[in-house]
């Protein structure tokens, strides 16, 4: 019985380090040039067909919270100097 008290937390811990869960964030390289403004990034994402909610700096990239054309919540990681899309993450 005593084992049970440790089993539950251990299972949670084991699940959480399982690689199947890995996701999140992106890296942008060569970001030393002049950064695009939030407005410019927002405009670029809008032109790609996204419904933009917010632009934020995340580590080395811009992170854009938006809805895609089918209305799904997405986080678009864009290069701050070139505006190239580095990664698109779908929220669940």
């Amino acid at each position: 019985m005593r084992k049970l008290y440790f089993a539950v937390p251990s299972i949670i811990a084991a699940l959480s380090i399982s690689p199947a869960f890995a996701s999140g964030g992106a890296q942008c390289e060569n970001t030393s040039g002049e950064w695009l403004s939030h407005e410019a990034i927002s405009t670029m994402a809008t032109e790609m067909g996204y419904d933009v909610r917010r632009v934020e700096t995340d580590d080395s990239c811009y992170e854009v919270y938006a809805f895609d054309q089918s209305g799904r919540r997405v986080e678009i990681y864009m290069h701050p100097v070139t505006g190239v899309v580095v990664k698109v993450e779908h929220d669940s």
Partner: protein, 192 residues
């Protein structure tokens, strides 16, 4: 008087050891250590591992929901009625604690009980704001994210005080409260 007590039989020295009492039932113990694990995992996975972070958040919400129900219908020392005290009692207890002469309680002491309620309330607010962040309505809305983070920091502060309180009470009454939260047992010491 030929009756032999188990205590005496195993003790061998002829002195009856102080009686042990079961204070924390399995629900409370599994809840506590699962909560610690889930909360900590959610904290380290934040902004790194969204999936893990969200699952841990749902788990925290599930755990506190069960605990709140258990606080109403559960075992004796698990019930809110057993450890929710009036503010004046809590303040008096804290005052006594600063002089290390606070009364010993078998269940949660008045300050500990207030801490339990504060932690449950904060964790509920963290879960609620977290779920809001996964909805279309609040997608990318900054104030929700800031509120979520603010309450998390508040919770971390409370956890620090919680652990400090456990250490102080353990030293004050020379007992291992952390051990009791693992095994469920406490020593029913006579009042000092």
């Amino acid at each position: 008087m030929t009756e032999l007590h188990i205590d005496q039989a195993t003790d061998g020295g002829g002195v009856t050891p102080p009686p042990k009492v079961k204070v924390w039932d399995p629900v409370v113990r599994v809840f506590h250590w699962s909560l610690v694990t889930a909360f900590f995992t959610a904290w380290i996975s934040a902004e790194e591992w969204d999936r893990v972070h969200e699952w841990m958040g749902y788990l925290v919400l599930g755990l506190i929901t069960v605990r709140i129900l258990w606080g109403i219908i559960g075992a004796r020392h698990a019930r809110f009625a057993d450890f929710v005290y009036r503010p004046s009692t809590i303040l008096a207890f804290l005052r006594d604690s600063t002089h290390l002469r606070a009364k010993r309680y078998l269940g949660h002491n008045p300050a500990g009980g207030a801490m339990v309620m504060a932690l449950l309330a904060c964790l509920a607010a963290v879960s609620a704001t977290g779920i809001m962040l996964t909805s279309d309505t609040f997608w990318g809305v900054e104030w929700v994210e800031e509120l979520h983070e603010f309450i998390v920091n508040l919770t971390l502060g409370l956890v620090g005080l919680h652990i400090a309180g456990v250490v102080v009470a353990s030293l004050e009454h020379r007992e291992n409260l952390v051990g009791s939260m693992i095994t469920g047992w406490k020593t029913n010491l006579p009042k000092r």
